[in-house]
């Protein structure tokens, strides 16, 4: 279904070239002074047309909030948000009406439903993520105000170019300062250049987004199926173009031995503040992690911030692989709906590399997962 989350739950709707796209956020706690500009800020980060590196479509993507607010505060009732599809040019896609674009969802949607909106990808378009990003901005606000938790995502790799980023220190400002949203200035310009070259070649590039969540309360995530890493994996692999997810040591960790990989516990003696907001009720309900005058930490973080599927208070660090954009300008062989083999030369506007716009989306999904588990943990702790 088009719904995600158990207690903090979103339902997205909309095709890329229908009337609008939107989201209903259900389960948002009441009495929050909603920061609407923060929602718009995230939508702007996701929006096409930000620079020559992204698709030249200019979608205003101004959010409208239709319910759930009263005098600026959340009511605890569903928050309905939408963005109108203003700059739709269905004619751009007319030549695609009967064609199955390679590595797109045209063929599978047609097979599954017997019908598809061939205008720009319909429901499979990345435009669907607008609702996720808007909802994620609310989740971020909840995390920030409840436990001081922050989710960040950035470009870790474009094509063969990899960045070095310190997950403890990276900031939103560093990410946004880079036109490719890679906070490593030693490689960011080359990445931009490589993307631009792909654009000129009518080709496309993929890469890796890395995400870190800091100040995560201990205890989020549920055995067995709703492990934090499992819900994060589902969230990320539900995004268009994602091909892989790894947390902590990930695939590289498979070449270590247990003695090398295990994260040794120790007591951080002079912890001031700890890894979550000391005023949060979650903190107050987890006194056991504070022993003597210290806090239990791990010396390494190969676990990526979860053990047994539950957050251990260390940074949650994961990576998401995005394939190169399926839409390319180069000529390709394909098949039409009548079974004829045809040549395809795309003319629609598209991103040569979706990674540049992906950080806002990955952050949003991470925040949605964490906020949902935060509420679930609230329900647990109080008995």
């Amino acid at each position: 279904m088009n719904t995600f989350g158990h207690l903090f739950r979103i339902t997205t709707w909309g095709e890329s070239h229908g009337g609008a796209v939107g989201v209903v956020v259900d389960g948002c706690p009441p009495q929050i002074a909603l920061d609407i500009s923060a929602i718009q800020f995230e939508l702007n980060r996701r929006r096409p047309g930000q620079s020559y590196l992204t698709t030249p479509r200019r979608e205003g993507d101004a959010v409208e909030i239709l319910s759930g607010l009263f005098e600026g505060k959340t009511l605890g009732t569903p928050i309905s948000m939408l963005v109108w599809n203003k700059n739709a040019r269905p004619s751009d896609y007319k030549h695609l009406k009967d064609v199955y674009r390679p590595s797109h969802a045209d063929f599978t949607y047609q097979q599954k439903y017997g019908i598809r909106n061939w205008q720009g990808g319909g429901r499979a378009s990345a435009r669907e993520t607008i609702g996720r990003v808007a909802a994620g901005a609310i989740a971020k606000q909840i995390l920030r105000e409840t436990s001081g938790t922050e989710t960040l995502a950035y470009v870790k790799q474009i094509h063969t170019l990899a960045a070095e980023v310190d997950t403890n220190k990276v900031t939103l400002e560093q990410i946004e300062a880079s036109p490719v949203r890679c906070p490593d200035p030693s490689v960011s310009p080359e990445m931009a250049e490589r993307i631009d070259r792909a654009r000129r070649d009518r080709d496309s590039l993929g890469g890796v987004i890395e995400s870190v969540a800091r100040n995560v309360p201990v205890g989020l995530g549920e055995p067995v199926f709703d492990k934090l890493k499992a819900d994060l994996a589902k969230a990320m692999m539900s995004l268009p173009a994602t091909m892989g997810f790894q947390i902590g040591s990930g695939f590289d960790g498979t070449t270590m031995t247990g003695a090398e990989h295990n994260d040794a516990f120790y007591v951080e003696k002079e912890s001031v503040g700890g890894n979550c907001n000391p005023d949060s009720s979650l903190r107050r309900n987890s006194p056991i992690s504070d022993v003597h005058s210290g806090r239990i930490r791990t010396r390494t973080n190969n676990s990526g911030g979860t053990q047994g599927g539950i957050s251990n208070g260390e940074n949650i660090v994961f990576q998401v692989a995005f394939k190169p954009t399926a839409t390319i300008g180069k000529a390709q062989q394909t098949v039409d709906i009548h079974g004829n083999e045809v040549a395809l030369e795309a003319t629609g506007r598209h991103d040569p590399c979706v990674l540049v716009r992906a950080p806002a989306i990955v952050e949003a999904m991470a925040a949605l997962v964490l906020a949902d588990h935060l509420l679930r943990q609230h329900a647990k702790l109080k008995m």
Copy 2:
């Protein structure tokens, strides 16, 4: 929650050293002549004590079916299955009562719940997967009888040793013929040796399981959140010790360009039978994939069998990273529940490498996801 699936739904329960572990399977179609020996076969594959490469604990793991069957056939009502915990030796774990084992769930469970069963991992034990494997065996039978779909998994990599496997041809027999469940005979013996050395070193190893599903009907998976790849990722990342999931080209695909990565469509002219059982009702309802006298295929399969999150009829191929077993015999530094830093030397029985037993579990989870989406697609097609 401890429930997985939307229409074919399982609920697992049980701690490793409580009375029993089990599963309730809900949504199983009626009138299936349940192959109970197949269930036991899968449990035996998962069972410890199969060889010197696995933990020497001997758990009979004989399944009992308590409901949902009548005269050998499924009633359509919940199928309750359990396996008694016979060989539990809680005293083996007594020295762990107050200790947080590194990279185990001891610390996080204690933090989350304020209580934990310290006998052998409790709910976080891999023994929980018994219920998944038993339920997965039923899912496999449904897939086999409905669409001829087969799920296989095998060791692709142990530590730094990687295998070459042809996903189109690999068989269960080849997998089971190898003591490490790696169907590549050129590397399987060395893998066994490496595991045995780790055992003698009181250390442990990780690795990668690869899984392929063949004869998957076109059209399984749902936009947006319940994409097939997303549900597979969640299923795999909900397993103990998993650190990564990738489908198709995965992380490696990020270094390709779109022109290299896109899977070109073509029409396979002389297809006899196609990629799913021609007698299945799903097949009958998907006439569009048959054009003229052929079937629409892709020349490459970088997509890993799904596009837009929906199966395209090609093999579904994915990989799962497992970290090295957290339980090792070597001495480690850690912390106890009182905040004292202590040395830990594990004496409990354990696997030096869980990969050997993992294929049955990965196959089961893949089958559960596919069976669930098969039923969901049934609900869709008939209008």
Copy 3:
């Protein structure tokens, strides 16, 4: 949560005096030529201001469909529909800002959320049912086209005035011909008069809605918790102002003996067509109900069309009790949010009797439940 249904699922949103109210319909089968005028027709039946018997607020209630349609047909993706709140006059409610209206949700919302939209009931307003009615119209179309199933509801009782209605024969035309939507002409005018008198007395009336679903396929409903009668009960009791639900013989049946109450089976020999569309796939999959040349029926229908929570092919007949409208013009004693006891004299516009507008809502909810179970049964039958 604000979501209802398992496979045919709706999520409603919106306050009575926020920007809009709406619904997202998820799980609608693809390729249906959606009858938008039928949606508007149902909204018009629900709308206030239809006659002197309903509230004089004139809400256009024109539905806008923002997604899920392509060239007039459903895509299988979420259908987002909304109705703007045009005629909102928040000032009408200003005097209610601090007052807890008796038998309204003011007090409980304030307690639950610590905040409430005091303008016209907010989320607790009957205006929320707009989304249900719009979604229900789609469910009706599915039922009609799939199995010829029809849901009707009408006023069975207003205050102490009860109607006689033949559930086998009553028609939509008869219902709509009555200004109070009571198809019994012998009592309908007196009901209208009684409502008008209540209006002039600044008082209000309650009553009973009866609903019948005809041509319901055999086999809808699930043991154990999702019995058809259970889901219908939840659907009806989720409506504002409902106080009771009964099916078949209901509370009156408790004074019968088993021998009197049991519905004897017999074989209807000359059944032509049966009780569901002979072309439907459900019908084709239920051959057992056709024995010899007949159809298994019951001579009486005290069961109300379900046995064991599953439809048996007879008419589903149930009744819903609605309390008298809580909003009245008469002076009442109450308490304000500061704990002062105050007198209240309502001046807002309101219905003296919601029953007149309730049939469209009850029908919609019945259709939503049936359509959901129809899809669930589709998923079951095909194995």
Copy 4:
């Protein structure tokens, strides 16, 4: 599906004559010293064979707890409980193998699934409620310890005999002191006599169970679909043999006017303790209901303890109609699976009136609904 509840969630399984019946309780808070004798006490109340008024089958119904407990305390993991089917005599039912018993689920199960367990009703048997009662006992303990909430149910009416019961004062002891579980001594003996006469007549009787929940925290229940009254209605109508549900004034309230029906608010000045446990965290989070030195109450309780679907702190009072037991000894006309009209004379053991055993079941379902909403409210309040 066979699952009920959102955060406090149960999954029941088992046929009446299969190996066992049971339940998995998911979402139970950790660290509760589970009162197992209280679970067995409730099962004993539900059990057949308690007196000449119930079926003479003697089912020990001893509960076994297989998981979720450690050293007597809940772990927060699933609690698996089962009761073995010991006294099954399938031969008692052999003559029913091919017969559709009137007003039983035989016909509908056979139609829905194409197969049924004809031994004693299979999944449709009242024996399925064992799991509900066992789980409900845990819910009761949570409610008692968290908010002092108590759920009681008793026979309000048998056939035409109605009792007078003060919902504020009735006690468990009074209920259990009556062999028919009617706490009104002026009518209880006559009820027993009437049931015994029905038994001798080989007939059966129905009736009404009334239930009251006292000390319910303000704020339980959710708009829109998960109103407390809606979830209670679903819970009750999911029980075998139920035909109606009403809350507060119910169907009788439809003959009142709004001025008569509305529950006037007032401030109870000298409230000591209030209507929920003053130590509970819910209480602490609902300061607004305490104004000055008093508590906001209603003078009447026609609303039955909920307004807008949310508890208002008054007693929750509802009634459930049970039809006369479908199994009777008297000869009946019916149809067999081949379509032959046949005479049926039941010889199996059965209850002449299920009402006597129903209170434990109704209480359990009420407790499950309240505990679920209690946890849901916990999740809400803490932001």
